[in-house]
Symmetry: C2
Amino acid sequence: MNDSTAAERPGLSRRGLLGLVGVGVAGSAIGFGVDRVLTPEAASASGAAALYPFFGEHQAGIVTPAQDRLHFAAFDVSDISREELAELLSDWTYAADRMTSGLGAGEFGATSGPYDSPPDDTGEALDLPPAGLTITFGFGPSLFDDRFGLASKRPDALIDLPHFPGDALVDTLVGGDLCIQACSDDPQVAVHAIRNLSRIAFGRATLRWSQLGFGRTSSTTRAQATPRNLFGFKDGTANLRAEDTAAVEHDVWVGQDGGWMAGGSYLVSRKIRMMVETWDRASLREQERVVGRTKGEGAPLSGGTEFTKPDFALKGRGEKPLIDEASHVRLSHPSSNNGAAMLRRGYNFVDGNDDLGRLNAGLFFICFQSDPREQFVPIQLRLAKHDAMGEYLRHVGSGIFAVPPGARKGRSIGAGLFA
Amino acid sequence: MNDSTAAERPGLSRRGLLGLVGVGVAGSAIGFGVDRVLTPEAASASGAAALYPFFGEHQAGIVTPAQDRLHFAAFDVSDISREELAELLSDWTYAADRMTSGLGAGEFGATSGPYDSPPDDTGEALDLPPAGLTITFGFGPSLFDDRFGLASKRPDALIDLPHFPGDALVDTLVGGDLCIQACSDDPQVAVHAIRNLSRIAFGRATLRWSQLGFGRTSSTTRAQATPRNLFGFKDGTANLRAEDTAAVEHDVWVGQDGGWMAGGSYLVSRKIRMMVETWDRASLREQERVVGRTKGEGAPLSGGTEFTKPDFALKGRGEKPLIDEASHVRLSHPSSNNGAAMLRRGYNFVDGNDDLGRLNAGLFFICFQSDPREQFVPIQLRLAKHDAMGEYLRHVGSGIFAVPPGARKGRSIGAGLFA
């Protein structure tokens, strides 16, 4: 089965239905009309709040104004065929389109349908508007091994990330064949999306790792105020913005020569634990030196206000640059990286505490770019070697994913991969 | 030092300052005037959003309209003296009063004060309104051992919880000498509160376990719509409401004969993992039987709408009661428990996933009551033995805490304990 066959069907694949309803009663569920009218509950769930269409030239959730909450999930694909993988993507497309529209994951919703079958939707978002929900899919390097006949489709830019100095990666927080980024202004809506997509994948893909986040650390449009990370500093002041169309075209989207990835992007995720207890014992002077900006306003230490361009040449007492050579703002700045910039879209996280009573807190860093070989990798290599912030950070998780272009209505996400 | 001495001081104790600024530079920080005017950043942080005063007859965060987000923390007290414990509570009182007012945790805020000392506040909530922040303190049974001379003050109602059938408690998620419940409509504000209180406690108390929650599962006033838990059902329909003053007086607050606990309450927390993958494979019929209510409307299966009183006697086909004998709504209902009721104030949680790819998700159950021996314990014993929902639940964490009455302005939380 190819993707267009999958897309012609109006609902979930039989496999998807099996995942939803359990093998024992699948037959009875399939007997019901799949184009049944939506339940009032499902219809009313598509409230007045922000709604981003799933289908389009690019996937939503990249230059979309950053929502407040994140649920990110990486999956391992089970021992299935190429056709079954395509079917999974078709099923995910179908459910993602519904959920981003404020509907339940399947036709029957959470409260209607055959009474003796499990509902098509888990129900915890029943009364909630989509709250700006976006669902963004990506493919990890391991998807392009010899299991699915996709090796020849692996884009050159989808590299295996190198080891970075200081990396303290935990195997269970790294990699994944597939990823889904769900963002919404309501955490329950984001969680609902990942949960239902995991459920649909039953028997075909298994959650490898997942991460909840709050308090986004970047603005993706100028209309958003700059939020703060858990070091208490504004984060994302110099981020790429959706309005900078030329920069976005160049730095975020893969060009027309990109084959099946044209109009797509590359996502790099890093789970960065922040040693907040250590940071909190550093003086305000040291904190500002490390960041290269003031803590309150977020202005560069060379002067001005938050959006003043940093003057890295400006010197102060003792002929020392006002913005330290090892400061984060200098090392990550495009001018230190041959003009390379990325669209950052990270979230703060707190996952309880460790055995020593320290908060297990930090930044779930996400960035999008047209070529990680030119963007994330050289920037991170520079930071890993020289960044004064490094002693307060520990990179524990990592992922790289090819994010295909948006799906056209009636086609599956990643359709080009199977063409 | 007793509590009134502590409360006379205008700011943090010297120990608290040491915790904040690090031993090396403490002297310089103390040199600054403690009643320094607030920074503009700090003042502007107290925005238009909901603000609940810290001082009062009862602690806030109990009958307060349930906020959307939770950060709960349990602490072990270090090897310190009774006087130092009282001082910690005085320092916490000081900081909690400031933070619930929208100010930084200490006088100098996050961005002013001595440049060569760490800021008094970690800064991540700098630009945020308090968003209804409440900070609620409690004392665990272990605080009343022989370390602090408090054994004679242990209330009879502060029992060690019995083992409940089916308990699968994890040692690192149980107990604690002290607890803090921080609730806010903004998770970053709740996290900021717990982080700064932990920091102030440095050297005096250590985080034992902590939990973030979202999507509250109960309404504490009639003005709030009933939210849904991760089984997709409305949760808290029959909860006690702040408006039911007679019931609250009887069921939530400790009476005037309660000694130092008069006007206080008892908090029981249970971290309840929900086996959502198993639940999602149960039929709609089974799910509704287990709960005893419809999934959509939340009406009792005996008929009516959400707020119709369940008719447990009403029978259907085959003379079987419409509301199953083992249903959650029947077993937890006051009519099954000699009229016992509690104020529930729980939150949903998702803590990533386990090694099998199952979401580590569930309910962080919190309830408040005047006497857990008459309320939580018998109700939970009945549920643990008979509740049909039990097979989908696993209780992994547990805590019981004496929540003292509210502090009067100028006095410390729990002052009566040291009187």
